[in-house]
């Protein structure tokens, strides 16, 4: 019941915000959206407190027959891996509502409606245990995101929105065919857990692997199908960038954990070299690309690609350090990238430019902001005692067990990450006041302060005391590794 509530409360709240009408009711819509988001978060808390960390199975399960002719079930449940993402998503939704509070004054109802509906759909993706249900939620998120980028985005928003939509649709359609094939092979079942036990010859596994790979690689995004991300991020409004970076990118990585690794273990092992290679390219090459960006949002977008490379690298080295490191990195990136985009949003709302060159000496006028930005920049660079460090450290350690050189290339991120983040920080924040606009900047207001403080707390907590995050996932990760370890040919 809790999972259904986590899915449907935001969706219904979103529809209600829509129904409230036009912009003349904007204040009511804002408060209503906030209430919906907070309520949506509150119902997910028992998911964590009531979670039995010793069990690897799915908890809070709900199962009802949905479409009889295809044996499709409304089947929800979370394990130690997905429960954290439901919480993360519901938490981020509150921040998004707050972040757009006074900034969005055009079609407010539609803006908040789209975000809340998307939040519900995203919870659905993480909770779905039936492949069609998963697909419905997975694809359903495209519609609100398309609208968000296209309506409230920057100057080149139409291009970005269409590119985002078509890229992701291509991937997911191929995944649909792969799912239908598995449905057929599993004797007419769309249950993901049933699929874990379907024997498949290696050749078939490899074809299916690519079917799923397209869908998930585009979402992660992995090099070389990452090019939609900088465009989408740059053009999206702040809230859109936040949800894109913090949650939507996690769908792809989550898909690997939920589908590819346990269902196609042999193909995963067979093609691990490819995945590792692509991940390393993302980490090292995209790290270099990030260095030369002049647009702050673009820079963070590329750094996201690089960080997500760590996640896929962790998954495909098949040991507990790697997988747990990847998962931690996903959550940490959810906080850090959200915080980074919100920081850019704070500046953009005041200056209406994202170019690094238009800034300089912001610390003189916005000291509070500069301190927060410092923390998040450090976290993005993976400094110890921030959340960014834990995941990267675990993945590098896991990689070391496989091969020194993989670990070596992966570790370059510590250099590049520090370089691009701190260099951007230096150019924007430090130095003399660059121009009149910067001189007129006002420091954070209470709302912005609260949003950034919440994220700062999360980043520090995760960096200093990651146990609450890791302990829930141990059992499920071991179960996953057991699946990978048992051949299905």
């Amino acid at each position: 019941m809790l999972l259904s509530l986590a899915i449907w409360i935001p969706i219904l709240a979103g529809l209600a915000v829509f129904a409230l009408g036009g912009d003349e009711r904007a204040p009511a819509q804002r408060w209503f959206a906030l209430a919906g988001a907070v309520l949506g978060f509150l119902v997910t808390i028992p998911l964590y407190t009531g979670f039995d960390a010793s069990s690897a199975g799915f908890q809070f399960e709900e199962k009802k027959l949905w479409i009889e002719t295809f044996n499709i079930h409304y089947h929800l449940g979370v394990d130690g891996i997905s429960v954290l993402f439901v919480l993360l998503n519901s938490f981020i939704t509150i921040l998004i509502v707050l972040a757009g509070w006074s900034v969005i004054d055009n079609k407010v109802g539609q803006y908040y409606g789209a975000f809340l509906i998307m939040s519900g759909l995203l919870n659905g993706v993480f909770a779905a245990l039936d492949a069609v249900l998963f697909y419905v939620f997975f694809e359903g998120t495209l519609i609100p995101m398309f609208i968000i980028i296209g309506v409230w985005g920057g100057p080149n928003r139409v291009y970005a929105a269409v590119k985002f939509f078509l890229y992701t649709l291509l991937g997911s359609l191929l995944m649909l065919v792969a799912m239908l094939y598995l449905y057929n092979k599993a004797g007419g079942s769309f249950s993901i857990t049933d699929w874990h036990h379907v024997p498949l010859p290696l050749g078939v596994q490899i074809v299916l692997f690519f079917g799923f790979l397209f869908a998930f690689a585009v979402k992660v995004p992995m090099w070389p199908v990452h090019t939609w991300l900088p465009d989408a991020h740059t053009e999206a409004p702040t809230g859109g960038s936040v949800v894109l970076a913090a949650i939507l990118l996690k769908l792809g990585a989550y898909g690997f954990v939920r589908f590819t690794l346990p269902i196609l273990p042999d193909a995963s092992k067979e093609l691990a070299w490819l995945m590792i290679a692509l991940s390393l390219v993302a980490i090292a090459y995209i790290g270099l690309v990030t260095l030369v960006q002049t647009d702050m949002k673009r820079l963070i977008a590329y750094s996201s690609v690089s960080h997500m490379g760590f996640v896929t690298l962790g998954f495909f080295i098949f040991n507990a350090y790697g997988v747990e490191g990847g998962l931690i990195q996903m959550i940490s990136h959810g906080f850090v990238s959200a915080a980074m985009f919100l920081c850019v949003g704070v500046l953009y709302d005041r200056m209406h430019t994202r170019m690094i060159g238009d800034y300089g000496g912001v610390v003189n006028t916005m000291p509070k902001f500069a301190s927060f930005a410092m923390l998040f920049a450090m976290a993005n660079a993976g400094l110890p005692a921030t959340s960014g460090f834990v995941g990267e450290f675990l993945v590098i350690m896991g990689a070391m067990q496989t091969s020194f050189w993989i670990a070596f290339v992966a570790a370059t991120t510590l250099v590049f990450g520090a370089a691009y983040t701190l260099w951007m920080y230096k150019r924007v924040i430090f130095g003399a006041v660059a121009n009149d606009h910067v001189a007129k900047l006002k420091d954070l207001n209470a709302r912005e302060f609260a949003v950034l403080a919440a994220l700062a707390a999360a980043v520090l907590l995760m960096g200093i005391y990651p146990l609450p995050f890791t302990e829930v996932m141990h059992a499920s990760v071991n179960e996953l590794l057991r699946h990978i370890g048992s051949p299905k040919i």
Binding site: I67, T69, Y135, G140, R157, L169, V177, L180, Y181, N184
Partner: protein, 495 residues
């Protein structure tokens, strides 16, 4: 004739009612003045409504059984009932959507209503045909009415040209169909589809007779492809959709698809199941070409009606995926799932097509045709509710969940994958990705662009309710598709 035998003919009550009532309406219409023309519309609605309930009554009385009456001319079965009910809904929606549009253009004439109802009768006869003869009579009744409807605006050169093309190509395709039928008749010696099935099964075993049957089959499939509108027999579709007044395009694009689909089911699935291997290959080629050409060509269109015409072609290709996946290596296990997926697809498609053209009618005003893509610009600003409905329609046409279009695609793709047609399924999804582009463009125009001028169209309450119900139906079917899916499944099981 015993009374029992006579009573069994009551299963054709809906057809009898539509025939008699339409004749009465036609005569009454002769004596009515132009100002009273609305009454004819309400009369037509009433006729369709009563037919709906008569069919429901027949459904209730027949309890899912099949019965062949009128000396093997007419079959009453669940599939027929279901498709007829959809035809009523489509016709009724067409009446609601088109009234204001026609009135604005001085086309609100009695002929419109009469022709529409007679074409409905033709469809009903086609849907329930158990013999080549009934099938052909129904087809001609429907087609002739539609030709005349396309030419309704006789002062428009475009409409007249479209009607002429439609007529000539339609006649050609009828000829092809008739030729095919005569071949099959020559081989089997019977016009009754169920007897044809029996004979054909026997004949197909011998190579010589099989060649003869397949020869006839080629013409049948070509004729069917014309009527359904799939590549390479699609040439009339864009011109007719474009040339006809939008209200008529809406009619041509909805219920006749159901009838053509029923015809294909009757001829191929009921009549020639033993040649499945042969016609499946033909349909596979038609499906592939339609999806490819329809989706790619639609991108280049700036006229929405033409764009939707090409989208129709692509969708019919998709629908064929379900039809061609029924029998695998002589094995009928998946037949029910495959054929019911095609039924589901065509029904959902008709709902989408009605909604899309309904939106065009909504945006058109007196002296202004909403035809070009740019005419939809900024609809979200001027009228958010209708923009939202169109958004649902477009995403449904694309096949994005949670809309009905997704389950339609899921069903046919699943059928194709089950039948081992993996490559056809993969090419289908790639073409539907290409198709997504032009549907998205409409969403983009409505939501991301600013309107050129701000005119709020005004429409009757009935129109608003019908269009909203139409759009929301796709959303509701997207969340709860099982009632309709089960109905389609039942219909096929009883075939």
């Amino acid at each position: 004739m015993s009374s029992m035998e006579f009573l069994s003919h009551l299963r054709a009550l809906p057809e009898m009612w539509v025939l008699v009532a339409t004749c009465v309406l036609m005569i009454l219409d002769l004596y009515s003045r132009d100002e009273q023309r609305r009454v004819a519309f309400y009369g037509a609605q009433a006729i369709v409504g009563v037919a709906f309930f008569l069919t429901l009554y027949v459904v209730y009385e027949s309890e899912g059984t099949r019965q062949i009456i009128f000396n093997g001319m007419y079959v009453s079965d669940v599939l027929g009932h279901l498709l007829k009910l959809v035809c009523y809904v489509a016709t009724s929606a067409a009446l609601v959507y088109s009234r204001q549009y026609l009135a604005d253009r001085g086309l609100l004439r009695g002929e419109f209503v009469t022709l529409l109802l007679f074409s409905l009768l033709g469809m009903m006869v086609m849907i329930s045909a158990a013999s080549f003869l009934t099938l052909f009579v129904g087809l001609e009744l429907m087609s002739l009415c539609l030709y005349a409807l396309v030419a309704l605006n006789r002062d428009s050169a475009l409409s007249t040209e479209a009607a002429m093309k439609y007529f000539v190509l339609g006649a050609l395709s009828s000829g092809l169909l008739l030729y095919g039928m005569s071949m099959i008749y020559g081989a089997t010696g019977t016009l009754n589809l169920y007897e044809v099935a029996g004979h054909a099964g026997r004949l197909a075993a011998s190579a010589t007779d099989r060649t003869f049957l397949v020869f006839g089959l080629v013409f049948l499939v070509a004729g069917l492809a014309f009527k359904i509108g799939v590549v390479p027999f699609h040439m009339w579709i864009p011109d007719v959709y474009h040339g006809a007044p939008t209200a008529v395009t809406l009619i041509v694009g909805a219920a006749p698809k159901i009838a053509a689909f029923a015809m294909a089911m009757r001829l191929l699935v009921n009549g020639l199941p033993d040649l499945a291997r042969d016609w499946q290959q033909m349909l596979a080629l038609l499906a592939f070409l339609s999806m490819a050409l329809g989706n790619i060509t639609a991108i280049a269109q700036t006229n929405i009606k033409r764009m939707l015409a090409y989208s129709t072609i692509a969708h019919m290709g998709f629908m064929l995926l379900g039809m061609l996946s029924g029998v695998v290596d002589g094995n009928n296990n998946n037949a029910a799932a495959a054929y019911s997926s095609a039924v589901f697809y065509i029904i959902v498609y008709v709902l989408m097509s009605l909604g899309a053209f309904g939106m065009l009618l909504y945006c058109s005003r007196a002296g202004f045709e909403c035809e070009n893509l740019d005419d939809l610009k900024g609809l979200n600003r001027t009228n958010p509710w209708y923009a939202f409905l169109m958004l649902i329609l477009m995403f449904s046409l694309t096949g994005i969940p949670p809309t009905a279009g997704f389950y339609a695609k899921l069903a046919v793709l699943s059928a194709a994958v089950n039948a081992g047609q993996i490559w056809l399924a993969v090419s289908a999804v790639i073409f539907s990705l290409i198709g997504a582009f032009y549907y998205l463009r409409i969403v983009k125009l409505m939501y991301f662009d600013e309107a050129k001028e701000r005119v709020r169209a005004t429409r009757s309450t009935g129109f608003a309710i019908a269009l909203s119900a139409n759009g929301l139906a796709l959303l509701v079917l997207g969340i709860a598709p099982w009632p309709l899916m089960n109905m389609c499944f039942e219909a096929i099981k009883a075939l």
